[in-house]
Amino acid sequence: MNLDLVIFAVSSVVAIFSAIMVFAQRNPIASVLYLILSLLSQAVLYVQLGALFMGAILIIVYAGAIMVLFLFVIMLLNLRGTEDLGLPSHPLSTPTKIIISTLFAVQIVLVAGRAALPPVTAGMLVEPDPTFGSVTEVGRLMFTEWVYPLQLTGILLLIAVVAAVVLAQKERSEDEPVVTIDQAGGPADPPTEKVG
């Protein structure tokens, strides 16, 4: 039991710390690595929750594939954390945002506290289902009850692939000017049409 608690404490602290670090320093590559670290800790939490398979998936898909994609993009854009990111935000606004988010978190905690969860011990300790979270069980559910959403997800992925290709493609025709919208920087007054 104590070991469980220790594992939980360590991994959650790591997860939270590395999550903060994601945006607390400038180098994007470091951010990605911190995020991977956070995800790894979360995978530990998954395993603790009896989801061995999902923990593995999280590592493989998220840390393995998606984060690599991020890294790949960062490399592609050749970002080094030294880019001009413009003027810093208004000094007040960052703390404000943090406070707001904290408030948000506190509120959710309050809600969760009130939420009508089943008695703490009910499903988990007294009589754990032997098949709970097993690969077999997940696979069974996925191909029986959830088969249509599964198909839809497949289609979604296909669409995403096509979209990514189309979006990232370079403009073919050179004579067609690239559509640029020059509103970046400077609070340009939009033309206001008065009624009346």
Binding site: S12, Y62, G123, P128, T153, A163
Partner: protein
Amino acid sequence: MDPVAYVMVAVVLFAIGSVGVLISRNIIILFMSVELALNAANLVIMAFAKAHGVTDGHVIVFFMLTVAAAEAAVGLAMIITLFRNRGTINIDRFSLLKW
């Protein structure tokens, strides 16, 4: 362990994610913060799945991972396009969301 504890961790992660979205000016980091928040949600689902003892939660998380993958692909493609056209990844340089 009490699943509520996991939920609390998830809430904290989500809050961190949202702070990240709010304050980071680098569009890639912003995007990573979104991923973080998404994962916090996943963690909550896992905790509840455990609490109720049903595996369906896992399937849902699985789907969410897939969606996240799709989203990452499209989002990153957009970031590439944006960067290609504007030469910057500073989110404050883009104000296309007004008429």
